[in-house]
Symmetry: D2
Subunit: 392 residues, 4 copies
């Protein structure tokens, strides 16, 4: 029998704040009530701040991030359109795979897992695409499977350098609200996020933001769509209503979540994530282990994929953490299965939660035969936390 | 300022049971935990009982009923396939419209609003379709906009009488779990439901059930799809996991909801809905008003669309109910806008809640100039409740 | 099996507001944290507004109203002191009885149930008590058992007219926060209230307010006491801490409750209670029944005790309401057992909840053989609600 | 601004289980409903199992543990009766002090803080009390202020050895439900407990259990009492109702809590507490620090009071924990103020929560200038957890 609170250190769903839980402890409501529209418009307005956009239009679908990906593609492109993308982890792979399954022509760059979007390659390919046959460029800002953050500003520069008009779609599922994202400054056309990561909510909302340019492309897109259709959603959203029944409970939770982000300050949220992520990385160093991310330029502030030494099985660490220590770590997916376990460090998190994760990881690793010194990672994390001027 | 509990008498989202609210007051969890699969399999098994199927396969998408509709179409058909459907209210219209938007050929029968699926017409058309060009037949079991229940068993008979192999898709969004639905007996191939009606949950789960025949059709369907893809979902479901992050909070709520349905007894749930609906209809009679449903054979046990007398505006009634009496009634949609207001009577409901709805409707109507006698509907409803042997 | 929300129409515990339920859905906390004291001080300050006092000192005990009564007596008096009180219902009786059990000398006036504090008798007795042997005068502002409100301002006048220095203690358990109470203006020395009535919280807080004069008397009181001791509480309260572990969950709920009272406006809260109570009384008139309260000057705005006709048993009505209609009415206590059933109409209540109570009472009475006309009370209540300018 | 979940490591209120929080997320209810009595009787029955009694009678007061102390004294003794007690910490002191304030004659043994009930002294005094003037003997099973557990079986042996008939009263506030307590076997006459410790609930219930012998003494007790009166409570409890409004929300929470204790198994609950406490003590050893408890025979499994080295101020550690690391440790009270900080390890707790406490304590101590090695305590705790066969 489980006792006490379980440790949830997967890279989403994240730990849910008490205020959000309270906000969602409520009765259902009339989604056509006259005052419901105003409530929604307030959410959309505050979402813009999180996406750092003035001209983008947020949309909220009752779905997961996967639905958001699909929405971006099917609302802007036409069947057979060419898409440039890169795969360097399970999620960037899946989005690229979706492009193929949905009938687009895919220029897919295979990148070593541990690195991110190959900006230079992108620039080369875009420069060579003189006829602008590439209609969209995909970039996964934070590859959740490997703990790698890519340079979205760099992708924009690549597009600009090539003078290429393709749309820029960004998977921000595990970055938005935790790692800096700048829709307008970076010229992003569609960014896809979800409720269960930086927004600290249960799964169930696919939150996207769409540029004016993307809406322009939308007009000439003839891809069949209905549930994910922007025309219905954006028409309804003029008055703050939804084309079909919205998940009002989650929307009330989103109100609380946006208020908390506002109260903490978005830049402070980013700083906190960096601070906590650094704490985890100090532990990894102390253990003598490596991250999957192949260098500081790729380090993610929301999730660390930790490589177990050759000859060891990360699956055991994860199983031990769950079964013996009531703690969930992220598993290694696909190519890195058995090679990494992941510590998610995003959302409603603080230093003492990170220390719990690190201490538990130590036991799970040691129990699994990985030769680390107990307390060594904890001490490194503690030292970082104490020496930083965070929170003072 | 609102005080006291608001009246929620729309035909979904419905009033949320305390037990469901409790079940969803919980922290987030690891959807890849080893024991999560077993939990899901338990849900799927119990969903079968609600759908009255032994061979059907339930699937749970993180979406609304609209997504369920789309899922049924895009997983079984091919672009350009012919679909037989009928429109007699806003929701049957929207599903038919979706067929068109998704690129299918639509044989759409326009039926007077207030009646339901034209079974004889269906039989005639199917009989004439010697080449079996019609691949699917759509039927909306409960048209939420008009309070009309259709004869799904009759549609099956029509198919059988015509010896037609088309798939039968049923919109059971506002019927499943409240009005009798028999997947196996009626030979339904896909039924679409949602969490916020008979399942008494917040919006956010599209719950469908798929026959073996539909899965067979799925194999030859080449319609592009990804988020709503059955192949991913059914593969994952073998072990009870999801192809993408599920809405765990709602799933825990669904566990509570299914337990409650089991405890009350599914047939008792149906009997309760009929009992409460009859109570509302007695009030409508006492007021001297008519339902939109044009005869007892069409009466819905989950929602009553009440016609205001000629020269009156139902919109006023609804606005008055909301603004002065803190109560939501369902609005008249599209063709019946201004002509009807709706009392939803499904989900977590009892006699005293119905009496509240009736008493409030009386005030809102009288305030809007409709000449009804105060207390008359209440007395008729009370009399029905007292004379029935329900609950004794 | 119960379905739908039960009706709770007892005179406390009352229906709990969603915001209060949310505020109490929280983890436990450190009651010695440095910022906890400030939180408590804020509560105390806002409680003063509810008690309408500037110089009184609120205290919050983790107990029920009964504990508050005891606290008033044992902190100000000495064993054997003489107390003037009157009994006209179960709760005024119990307080008088407590005085006796705790060893005080009790001058107890028996008053017909249905009337309240006999102000003239009080004045006569106080005038005759030339030696001021009476140390305290008790008055129950709202007798919950009979639905009778007494004239506390009148009691003060009686004391003043007699030039008598006795302390004035008021039972405000079912009045404070629902019916006007003016501590300073009426010269009340201790008022006793509880969390589960006008404060719309679960039971568990005995909330009292103490005048400077009462604190002065406290200094010379040698009655043994510990748990209910004011010296410990008032010392701790200087910094907002408690002498023993406080019920933090309820205190967080009280914060929400006080915020709601502030938002609605205390005078508006009183007006709403009068409005709703009048609605109930209109129904009683329409039924041809009488209240236990023997005239409008005694009518309570928080609870109506309704007399069933001679030869009928009110117990049956209450049992029927609970067993058949899932609704709780207040029972008749002691002398009025079987003669009255009570509708509580206080706390988080609105018009449509009152209509539900009235409609349900009609069925329960009719089922019990009481000859009332179904719908008659409802129509009278509706008419009152519609004709008033409340909420407009 | 606080982010993430705060650490609550005070010795009560404890961390509230999710199931208990869910059970208390509910509407208020009718405490006079016909089925309420049966619900209460079920609680009382299960409480007996926790107290390990067959003949004892549990009672539940809406108060804190302090009220339970008072209830024990005022219901069994007469003013001026002689009580034997001992003080070796803030809570044993307060109970002894209460005896004096309530007008009893107190034989109070001062014991060095860090030790517990002086069983031999008790036996000597009781033996010398040939006339049996001592009517009651007090023993604090777990002194929360110093983390000292006393030998209650030993106190019984002392009484028996002296052939003394005095009543035995035990303060089990921070032991019952966490550390073994055996009412019948140890011949305890009244044990006092509270909701916010081993019962894992919010503060608000004083839970006591009374022996037949104590009820016998009750009959001749003339101490004035009312709120805490056993006669009212035990009469009402025959049918499971309460003499005044009970805290129904907490009672529903208690139902959940008792179910959880039953599910885990009471002996397993004790074993878990010992296991976790040992984990904390291993850290203290590793830090080179001492507990306030002066030897293993005194070690408490629910709270550890840790002595900071001479020249250091424990207050700083606690303040640092709260302000910088969002964690509450227990403060040093009275004689040990500034000398100890306390880690509460009782209630809804597991290994990873203990590790969090230990890791945080390390930082708070180091920041406060106490020369401990970061990670050292964590490693010792980890080692203990990993080497034990707990949970396997």
């Amino acid at each position: 029998m489980k006792t006490g609170y379980s440790g949830l250190f997967i890279p989403g769903p994240t730990n849910i704040p008490e205020k959000v839980m309270q906000a969602m402890t409520l009765h259902l409501e009339d989604m056509r009530a006259p005052d419901f529209g105003g409530f929604t418009l307030g959410l959309l307005n505050d979402l813009k701040k999180v996406f750092k956009t003035k001209t983008g239009q947020p949309m909220i679908f009752p779905c997961s991030g996967t639905g958001g990906w699909e929405s971006a593609l099917t609302n802007t492109l036409n069947p057979g359109d060419k898409i440039l993308c890169s795969a360097f982890g399970q999620f960037s792979h899946l989005w690229a795979d979706m492009c193929k399954r949905l009938g687009f022509e895919v220029v897919r760059l295979e990148v070593e897992w541990g690195k991110g979007v190959p900006v230079d390659e992108y620039q080369r390919i875009l420069s060579e695409d003189k006829d602008h046959t590439i209609k969209a460029v995909l970039a996964c800002q934070n590859e959740t499977a490997t703990g790698v953050t890519s340079d979205i500003a760099g992708v924009r520069k690549a597009l600009d350098a090539a003078g290429h008009p393709a749309l820029l779609f960004v998977d921000g599922v595990s970055s938005v609200g935790s790692i800096d994202f700048r829709m307008d400054e970076w010229g992003v056309d569609v960014v896809v996020s979800g409720s269960q990561k930086g927004f600290m909510l249960p799964t169930g909302l696919g939150i996207i933001c769409v540029s004016e340019k993307a809406f322009e492309a939308h007009k000439s897109s003839k891809y069949p769509r209905c549930f994910f259709s922007w025309e219905d959603m954006s028409n309804s959203f003029k008055t703050g209503f939804f084309p079909y029944t919205p998940a009002t409970t989650l929307l009330r939770g989103l109100r609380a979540s946006l208020d908390m982000i506002e109260e903490e300050g978005l830049e402070n949220v980013f700083a906190r994530h960096k601070h906590l992520a650094t704490g985890v990385r100090k532990a990894v160093d102390a253990w003598g282990l490596k991250l999957c991310a192949q260098g500081p330029e790729w380090y993610s502030d929301t999730v660390s994929a930790i490589m177990v030494p050759e000859g060891h099985d990360a699956t055991k660490v994860i199983a031990r953490g769950y079964e013996r220590y009531q703690t969930s770590f992220g598993t290694g997916l696909s190519k890195v299965a058995g090679k990494v376990f992941r510590i998610g460090h995003l959302g409603w998190l603080n230093e003492i939660m990170v220390l719990q994760a690190v201490a538990t990881a130590e036991m799970a690793m040691k129990d699994s035969g990985i030769p680390i010194e107990l307390g060594s990672g904890v001490a490194a994390t503690q030292t970082h936390f104490m020496q930083s001027n965070y929170g003072s």
